[in-house]
Point group: C2
Chain length 292, copies 2
């Protein structure tokens, strides 16, 4: 069996061939450019798959398992993505069927990208050996995936809760999600760049101050995750998460402040899997789907 | 086997004999009056047990299973309660051993009261048949229990997360938990009575306004629970929850407002089990402990 993972981001789409232990054997990437519409964009993804299959010298008679990690509400039963933001302008789109048509016999699954990344980080990163694991992806948006005893926590109908839209400050700025002062609008990469754009001089002090703000709200969000989910460990990944060393102290202060009742004495670590967590997790989820 | 449940509240302690189907066969109650200290208070609980055993004509050779539901941090492994509030002034206290001493051979367990009530309501109330159930107890405090596939959701070491202390408004009033603007300080019965005390005329309009406020914050808290936990159903119980009919519309508005991304289209119901949920749940948990 050849395992393929795809991670669709608002800016770039990444595809990889992944070993059954979660090692990346070959990879390729291209701009997502979703404004072209779904047909052209999906064709790009299919081309990327053909390219990594070539590069990895995969046996063409080997069955394929393809996992697609994508942001926004994904119906894991129908493969329909209803994405109000990252793939701006797309109507609800079945993203699974085109892959099944292009690769007959392949097992194809779609998964929320935060969930897929959490599975990747749980399998080969900081989550190894934990029973209740949270991965927070701080990027263009804020994604959160929960892994309980090795399985993605899902609502009824397989729902992903979108914990990146936890409301933290109801008098805060509005988000496209309909809330004011949710985690994403206060602490995502997008929030950081807005903050910097609004400051008249873009010196490094301003940059640090913006990161402090993001760390403050992320710390408060983690307190709320501890109150509701009680994790064993929390990892922070994604583009903005790469600045974790600048956020660590503020996050720890916030956790400490709320420790009297809420079990916030939980390790908070920088994710180890980096940008590949989503595609690795998606590939491993496709593997599970292919054998069950 | 004779099943006994005890629910220790800040004001009253309730004890009941419970059938293996969760029916209440006999009950007794007395003021908790924790200021007397732990020895005298625990003696009251033991007397209540003796009384309900007499009243229910339980066979004295039948083995006992005793479940104690109690608020605040409870270590379910050691039976030690560290309660900063409801049993004000008690040092960390082993509440399980005195029961084992008084009733030799009895299986005795202690459980957070919100968890116990959630189990009770899941077994015989609105939670029947759900996979991911939440019971919110709006009383003197705000307690939240999560039941996943029939089991209490626990953190490592069996932690209860204390989701009643979710932070909803960081610029809100301070709570004894160390946070500002947590759910409990904004929407508990205590918050309601403070609100009423601060208003100069205590007419029914003021009462309604206070309940509207509690409903507003409870609605926002439920949105955050949906974002992190994705429940199948939510029930509201407890003393203030008895006014659910006055809160229902506001809560629904808040859930609706955040529906774009967060899966808030979840039934929110008045709890059916009433004040007995905690002791029934505790008794059923003791039953499970006695056979495992």
């Amino acid at each position: 069996m050849t395992l393929i993972g795809i991670d669709v981001g608002g800016t770039n789409s990444r595809v990889g061939v992944v070993s059954s232990e979660g090692r990346l054997l070959a990879r390729a990437a291209a701009p997502t450019d979703a404004a072209r519409g779904s047909a052209a964009t999906i064709e790009t993804w299919l081309d990327l798959i053909r390219r990594v299959l070539d590069e990895s010298h995969a046996n063409s008679s080997d069955p394929l398992a393809i996992g697609i990690a994508i942001s926004g509400p994904v119906d894991i039963n129908t493969g329909i993505v209803t994405n109000p933001y990252t793939l701006g302008g797309w109507p609800p789109t079945d993203i699974v069927s085109p892959f099944r048509a292009a690769f007959p016999g392949a097992v194809v699954i779609a998964e929320n990208d935060a969930n897929a990344a959490a599975v990747g980080e749980w399998r080969i990163g900081t989550g190894r050996g934990t029973n209740r694991f949270v991965l927070v992806t701080l990027g263009t948006g804020v994604g959160v995936g929960f892994v309980v005893n090795g399985k993605i926590q899902r609502g009824r109908n397989g729902d992903h809760g979108e914990a990146g839209h936890l409301v933290l400050d109801p008098s805060g700025p509005p988000c496209y999600c309909g809330a004011n002062g949710c985690w994403e609008v206060l602490a995502s990469g997008t929030a950081l760049s807005k903050h910097l754009k609004n400051s008249s001089d873009m010196d490094s002090d301003h940059h640090l101050c913006a990161i402090e703000q993001a760390a403050h709200w992320t710390g408060l969000a983690l307190v709320n995750l501890c109150a509701v989910f009680s994790p064993d460990a929390i990892a922070i990944g994604g583009g903005a998460g790469a600045q974790f060393n600048l956020m660590e102290k503020k996050i720890a202060e916030m956790m400490q402040r709320h420790r009297r009742l809420v079990p916030t004495d939980v390790p908070v670590l920088a994710a180890q899997t980096g940008d590949d967590a989503g595609l690795i997790g998606a590939a491993l989820l496709a593997q599970v789907a292919s054998i069950s």
